[in-house]
Each structure stands twice: as structure tokens, then as C-alpha cells.
Amino acid sequence: MEILERSGSKLETAGEGVFACALGDELARFLGRPMVTFTFQRRAAMNGRADLAAPGSWLHDQLLRFARDRGRVARAYLGPRPGLDAKQLAAERLSVSAEDLASLERRYGSLLVFTFRIFYYSDPAAEVLLHLGYDAERRRISRRGLPRLLADAQPVANPNGYHPAPAPDVGAAFSAVWTAVEDEVELRVRGLEEAGRTAYEARIHVVENYYRQLLAEEKRLMESRASRKGHDESKGRIDLLKVEWERRMKEEADRLRPQVVARLCAVAVLQVPLEKWGKVGTGTGAWVDTVRGESWTENGGDHCAKEGNGG
């Protein structure tokens, strides 16, 4: 329903449990028709009065596909956590009295949230959504509380007068995030491989046995051959079999190993309000992430507030 509303479609009731919907332009193009009549009741759908829109139905799948095609890159803003005292956090970070500090800068920082869909083609198979954040300020991966941050974010900036964030280095962000994806995948694949080890070993055992037997048969043949030529022929065949054995083992290992496909679904650029506090005239000070309650100085060193973490 939400997808229909977002696409500018107009919904009307067309009988008990049946809806008629004049589709918005984009959705109409996508579905190849100007309107749909649908129902969530199988009986009504079976009468041919309407398309079924229940999970698993054609219409349901198409609407999901439509939704997955849009909004792949978006930006939203977070507001400072209520009650969080940025000045106090900065003071703690700098080990000075709060009275000595003044506000040096207020601006947004970028937290890029990459969403991957990861398919594990193995036995058992799995498919997961993985959200990984990249804190462009501190150039590091951030996993903590991402779903909560995404839920709290709003499409408009808060009115507290934070300056815009500098443009993030997207390439560096993806590079770091991808390494994290690889680590995650590697870890999970180990688990999957353990689970599928029995089947794998059985197949490898078959290949090994086969080549052992072939070699044994060929050796017996070689021993029974009187002529040098026949002997050499067998020897050549044995060498070939050995090479082939190696190749087949690699091929089977490659084929039976879980295959993993990662697809980047979306990127959200979250704007996090940051405050910099320091001694007036020095220019140096501590940054405070006013959402997650984290503080750090520009010359390194992080600190997380003891009281909550915003997610």
C-alpha cells in the first residue's frame, strides 16, 4: 500500500476486500498497465475479479521490484541526542574544565551506510542483508546502531544551524567497507563449509578413489607389458593421470565451495551533527558526535561517552 501511495497512485475500494488503483505514471510504465484491481483474499482472486497481492503473488513481487529500483542513493539528517552535553564531553576528552571551553565549529559529518545483499550459494543456502557504515570523519567502519540511526534520520536538516558536511571520499569509503564485507563473508563461509563438509568430503573421496584405482589398473597393465614401448606408453599415461587428478580435485573443490555473490543495494548518506569545542584562540579542540555521544581529537584518540551510544 505504501508503495502505491508513494508512486502517486490513487486507491479506491471496489467491493469487499477488493481495491482498484489508478497507478502513478512511473508505476504504470513499470507494470505496463494504467491500473490494477487487487485483493489480499485468495477467494476473490480465484474468481478472477482481481489480482492477488499477497506475498508470493505476481503483483506483490512486481511491487517489491519496483520499490527496490528506487531510492538507491539517499541523504538524511540526524538531530543531536536530547540531553547530551557536548561541551562536557569535550571537556572530559581534553581533560580540562568545561568553563574554559568555547564552541569552535558546528557542522555535519557524513556517515555513509552501505547496504549489501549477500547470497550464499551453499548447502544450506542463505541470503542476508548487511548494513555497514563508514564514518567519513574518522575514516573507519562503523557498525554500531545503524538500524536505529536509519530509523531516526529525517530528510530535512535540523534547525540548529549546523554547516554542511564536506564531500566524503566515496572511493575510500567503499574500499574500506568492501574489506569489511570480505571479512564478514570469509567468516560465514567457514561456518558454511563446516556444515557442508560431509558432502564435500564424500565427493572428494570418490574422485580420489577413482584416480587411485585408475593408477593401480594402469600399473598392473604396465607390469604385464613386456615391450619397452608398451611400458613407456603406460608410464606416459600414468603421468597424465596424475596431472589430471590434481586438476579434477581443484575443479571439484572450486565447484563445491560455497559461492558468494554480494550486491550493493543502496547507499544512505547520513548527516551527523558534530560540535567542536576548544580553548579560544588555540584552534585545537575536541569533536563531539552529538548523536552517538562520541568524542575525539584531531590528532587521534577516540572516546565514547559512558552514557548510552545513540543506538
Partner: protein, 650 residues
């Protein structure tokens, strides 16, 4: 401290500091150590078991990749990965570019996307994504099941051995598309008989929206990811080595019974190809004896049936290579790697075909022209000058086909040739032939067609090989009050689609060249008229295949226009009377043609007989021999079918 001694066994993985990873393939015991024979990437080495540079590879290393040192772990981003089994799919670069350029979309859409992604999560091959990405493919249950079995149970290596006409190509196409959609397959090689390369390319393009390239030239192999090639071309010395250096994600071999003999170059070539997944397609996995089946399975899963000696002992009746024993056990083993659907199992009813031969005699003027063209063609064929012979070979064959199609078709070529400098030596003869063509005012075959059409109460496709005939027919039929639409290879795709739509909705007759036989589904029509008859039976089969296919509910009517004393009448005699071709299931013709299916050799054989025979008696005898050969092939094919039914069950 003394290092712990490791007792190696054959099959152990080892790591050598200099040679890398290896496999122990032989051990000779000595009093204090063993001598190991180890296969490394660089070749076979003989080492002692106490060699200081040799160590056993950790057991887990087989399936768990060793973690490279942290410093070297940087990935070649954004397109590559450091894990061999991980693929970064889609086009992340485009998305990242949009982020960098600030081209953002609505936040609400993003939220909906996340919800939709959550809901859409599946587990492995639970549903077939390809079904939403194919065109004109009947979604048949047994084809879907075959697809699931290959993907889930066979892990991409299987023998598709459905009976002829059940759509093995579609099943293979679905598996291919599914793998591609999921990002698991990128490089594909399809090996087919030469006669089927175009058909495969067309089907993969129109039904699966995949642009394959017919490869054969040196640069093709690494330049394109999706390749179709005839098995004969691929295994030539020139291409063989090059292809073995390539790595393919999936190799599909159509008519895989050609790999039944493990001593042939073809079998050895496919066996040596580097491919993760392999699909073999054949309706007749066993043609002579069970060893052939063994050889096919061994390509897919070496060792699955043991060594041949063990297989023979366990599963073959002594003294009869065609008879299996321990059939229940063998059947269970085969199920792991082979799918065979029979028509009886599918409950699909194939419509009947009625074949009508429409005989007629040429008018006097047409006969004079036909005989004169034939004499001209035979004179060129008999030319002792090799250069002249080669120059005229193709032209004279086309001319002979054209005159068999219609006078306007032949006139089209004669008009151009009589002033073409390349044929200057024969301008006078060509001019004379053209003049004879001008005398033709009545077209006996057209009149025959006009007699047939009133008997057809529905739509009809009139097939011809030549555009000139197509235009002539279309114009004359319209004059007679029929609604017609034409279809030929030179039309843009949109016009082709429009033509088919028009034919489906309002037009009574589609006049089409061979191109009409490619890929498009015309099963709403039940009548095919072969206005002329291609000398290549595969083309005839393709024509019929457009209407006689899965999904066709009515009976099919085929009308063959047969002119007395022409090449076509001889071809029709062989195809209709000798092998009853028009009753064959689509796909069977290739099996019967055997070697004739390759490289248009049946067509060439027909032309050689027609143009080369010195006397009428010789002509009759040679066509008789050709027919007998095909009849023999058909009988042989029938016995192979029976054998397969016996082995695998009807």
C-alpha cells in the same frame, strides 16, 4: 627439538616452499622415510617425506582459504575481490558515482527500498528469477523441475537427456539465465553442431535476451564472454589450445552423444576444458553400448561410476554391452547426474500432422526455362577450369534453387548477372535465359497455391527461400483478395514484431522467408505451405517447428508444392517417402541426418548429384542411394531410441 614426522598418504595435500601446493599421488616406502611423488603446478616431482621444504597442507586449507597476510589484503577495488568464491555483482561503480555527485533520491523511497529488500530475502535457489527475464518460454513444470535439480542437487553439472521435442535447449537456457542473473556465471561457451549455431544464437537472444557471439576466429575467445561455437571448430588444432587456456564458468554441449567415445578428440577436448559448470544435452545418451553413457557421466563427474572396469563388472551383463544389471543401483547413481523426461511422463499431447503433397506440372514456358537453367548450371559444374568452377559454383547453385522457387526469383539473379562484368564470358547465355523468363506469363505453382488456400479455413504461413518470390507472392495474393503481411531477415526488429502482431490479429497469410523460421513463436497458426522446398532438411524442420511446438493445441497441416522433374521433387521424395520426415518430432532430423547435418553437406550432396549426373539413370540411382542412406540412418535412430527406452524406461 626433533620435528614431528608426518606419515603421508596418497591423496594428501602438501605445501612446498619452492614449488607451492601439490598433491601426493604415489608413495614408495623406504626403511626410514618414504619417497613421494607429488604433482605441483609445474609438473610431477619426486621428494622424500622428510624433505625440509615440504610440509603437509593443513586439513582445513582444502575448503577454507588461507588468510593472506594482513598487509597484502587490499582488494583491487571496486570490481575485484580477494576471495576467489566471492563476486561483487551489479554495477556498484554507477551507484558510487551517484553518491559522489550528490545525485540523491527521496529518503522515503530509500526506506521503502530497505523494507522491500528485507521482504525479498530468499534462501538459495528457492525460486527461479529467470522466469521474469525470459520471453516466449512456456513455463512448463517439468522444465522448471529440471532447472531446480541442476541448480540445487547437481550443483551445475548434469546430463539433460529429455526425449526429443521436450525442450532441452530451454532447460539449459533457464539454468544459464538463472546463474547469470544471480551473478554466478559470466563466461559461457556453448558447443553445438555447426548446423545449429545460428538457431542457438537466435533462441538465446530472443527467448533469454542473451547476446551470444558465434566464435571461430582467433580473437573471439578472449574478446567475448558469451560464445557459441561448433564442436568441430572448437576442437581444431588452432582453437583447441587457445580454448584450453580459457576459464569458463559454464560450458553447454548440445547433441552431446557426439562425445560418446572417450578416445575421440571431441571427448578429450571437452574433458580438458576448464569449466566450473557443465551441461550435456542429448536425447540419446546411449547409442551402441553402456560405455557411451559411462563416458558422458565421466565428463560430468569423474569417478561417479568408478573406473570403467569396475563399472563394467558391476553394471553390465557379461557378453552384452547393451544390457545393464543392478539396474536399481545404477538408476540411483544416474539420478544424481542425469535428468530424463519422457513424453509419457509429461502428459503433453503433441498435435497431429497431416502432410499434403500438391503435385503440379510446370507450364511449357516454365519448363523450357527450368531445363535451360539446369543445362547452364550443369555446364558450369562440368567446367574443367578450377577457377571458373569455383567462380560459378555458388551462383549456379543459387540460380538452380531460385528457378525451383519461382520464375521471378531466377529473373532477379539473371537480370543482374547478364550485365555483371564478373560473368562477362556468359553474358549471351544469361541474356537468353532472361529472355526465356520474360516469356513466362503463367505460374503453375502460384495457381496451385491459389487452389489450396480456399481449403484452408484459417491463417497460413507460406514459406519461401527468396525475397523475390516472397514479394511476388504477396502481391499476387493481395490481388486475389487475401490479406497478407511479409516477413524477412532484412526487416528491423520492430517491423518484424509488428508483422507478427498483424498476422496474429487480423491478417490471414504471412509470406515469409527462412528468417521467419527463426525464434519467433507462431503457434497461433496451424497451416504451413512450403511454396519451395529448401534442400537442407534442417531448414524444413525449422519452418515446421514455428507452428508445431509446445503450446500448439490444434492439428497441423503441411502443404508441400511439388513440381515434377525438379531437384525439389527428388528432395521431397527422399524426405517424405524415404524417411517420412514430416512426421518426425522436431529435433529428430538432426539425428537422422548424422554427418549430413554438418556444414550443409546434405544440400551440397543434392547439388552435386543434380548438377554432376551425366545421365538421367545416373541421377535416379544417385538420389536413390542418398535416400537409402538416410532411410538406414532413420532405422538406426529408431533402434537407438528403443535401446534408450529399454535402459532408462519409457
Amino acid at each position: 627439538m626433533e620435528q614431528e614426522r608426518y606419515v603421508y598418504e596418497v591423496g594428501d595435500k602438501v605445501v612446498h616452499t619452492d614449488f607451492g601446493e601439490g598433491l601426493v599421488v604415489e608413495i614408495r616406502e623406504r626403511p626410514f622415510y618414504d619417497v613421494l611423488e607429488v604433482v605441483f603446478a609445474g609438473g610431477v616431482k619426486r621428494l622424500t617425506s622428510i624433505h625440509p621444504l615440504l610440509r603437509p597442507k593443513p586439513m582445513t586449507a582444502e575448503i577454507i582459504p588461507l588468510r593472506p597476510p594482513r598487509a597484502k589484503r587490499r582488494s583491487p577495488l571496486p570490481n575485484g575481490t580477494r576471495l576467489s568464491y566471492l563476486v561483487l555483482d551489479g554495477a556498484p561503480a554507477l551507484l558510487l558515482d551517484r553518491v559522489a555527485k550528490g545525485r540523491i533520491e527521496e529518503w522515503e523511497d530509500y526506506r521503502l527500498l530497505l523494507e522491500a529488500e528485507e521482504i525479498s530475502a530468499e534462501r538459495g535457489f528457492e525460486s527461479l528469477l529467470c522466469l521474469d527475464h525470459v520471453k516466449g518460454v512456456d513455463r512448463l513444470g517439468y522444465q522448471r523441475d529440471a532447472c531446480y535439480r541442476v541448480l540445487r542437487e547437481m550443483r551445475g553439472r548434469g546430463l539433460l537427456a529429455d526425449e526429443v521435442g521436450l525442450g532441452k535447449t530451454i532447460e539449459a537456457g533457464m539454468v544459464l539465465k538463472e546463474y547469470m542473473l544471480r551473478g554466478l556465471v559470466r563466461r559461457v561457451l556453448v558447443l553445438v553442431p555447426a548446423s545449429l549455431t545460428n538457431q542457438w544464437r537466435e533462441e538465446l537472444a530472443t527467448k533469454f535476451l542473451l547476446d551470444f557471439v558465434i566464435a571461430g576466429r582467433r580473437g573471439d575467445w578472449s574478446k567475448h564472454d558469451l560464445l557459441i561455437c561448433s564442436l568441430d571448430t572448437a576442437k581444431t588444432a588452432r582453437n583447441h589450445r587457445r580454448l584450453l587456456e580459457e576459464h569458463f564458468d559454464l560450458v553447454i554441449v548440445d547433441e552431446a552423444h557426439r562425445l560418446r567415445n572417450h578416445q575421440t578428440l571431441a571427448w578429450k577436448f571437452v574433458s580438458a576444458l576448464n569449466s566450473k559448470y557443465l551441461l550435456l544435452l542429448t536425447a540419446t545418451p546411449v547409442q551402441n553400448d553402456l560405455r557411451e553413457l559411462y563416458n558422458l557421466i565421466n565428463l560430468l563427474r569423474p569417478g561417479a561410476l568408478g573406473t570403467y572396469r569396475a563399472f563394467r563388472r558391476k553394471y553390465m551383463v557379461r557378453g552384452d554391452k547393451r544390457l545393464p544389471k543392478n539396474t536399481a543401483e545404477l538408476s540411483n547413481l544416474l539420478k544424481q547426474v542425469m535428468i530424463r523426461t519422457t513424453r509419457a511422463k509429461t502428459n503433453i499431447k503433441f498435435p497431429k500432422r497431416t502432410v499434403n503433397i500438391v503435385p503440379f506440372a510446370l507450364t511449357d514456358e516454365e519448363r523450357v526455362l527450368y531445363d535451360a537453367v539446369t543445362d547452364f548450371v550443369r555446364d558450369r559444374f562440368a567446367d574443367n577450369d578450377r577457377t571458373q568452377f569455383l567462380k560459378w559454383h555458388f551462383v549456379s547453385m543459387v540460380l538452380q534453387k531460385e528457378i525451383g522457387s519461382s520464375t521471378p526469383a531466377a529473373q532477379h539473379t539473371l537480370r543482374r548477372a547478364r550485365s555483371d562484368p564478373r560473368y562477362k564470358n556468359h553474358w549471351a547465355e544469361l541474356e537468353r535465359l532472361y529472355g526465356l523468363g520474360q516469356n513466362v506469363t503463367h505460374h503453375a505453382k502460384l495457381e496451385g497455391l491459389l487452389r489450396i488456400l480456399p481449403q484452408v479455413d484459417d491463417k497460413a504461413i507460406v514459406f519461401t527461400q527468396f525475397k523475390s518470390t516472397m514479394e511476388f507472392l504477396s502481391a499476387r495474393l493481395r490481388e486475389e483478395g487475401y490479406t497478407t503481411v511479409v516477413f524477412h531477415g532484412g526487416m528491423p526488429t520492430a517491423d518484424k514484431d509488428n508483422a507478427i502482431q498483424e498476422f496474429r490479429k487480423k491478417v490471414r497469410i504471412l509470406v515469409s522467408t527462412e528468417a521467419g523460421g527463426e525464434g519467433r513463436n507462431l503457434h497461433f497458426c496451424r497451416t504451413v505451405v512450403n511454396y519451395d522446398l529448401p534442400w537442407n532438411p534442417m531448414k524444413v524442420e525449422q519452418r515446421i517447428g514455428r507452428v508445431h511446438r509446445l503450446g500448439q493445441t490444434g492439428d497441423i497441416h503441411i502443404y508441400n508444392m511439388s513440381t515434377e522433374n525438379t531437384v525439389e521433387s527428388h528432395v521431397l521424395e527422399i524426405l517424405h517417402r524415404k524417411i517420412d520426415m514430416f512426421q518426425l518430432v522436431i529435433g529428430e532430423m538432426d539425428m537422422i541426418l548424422g554427418d549430413y547435418a554438418e556444414k550443409k553437406s546434405f544440400e551440397a550432396a543434392v547439388f552435386h548429384i543434380w548438377a554432376g549426373a551425366k545421365t538421367r539413370r545416373e541421377l535416379e540411382r544417385r538420389f536413390q542411394d542418398l535416400g537409402d542412406q538416410l532411410a538406414l540412418n532413420r532405422r538406426r535412430y529408431e533402434s537407438i531410441k528403443r535401446l534408450d527406452e529399454e535402459i532408462f524406461g519409457g
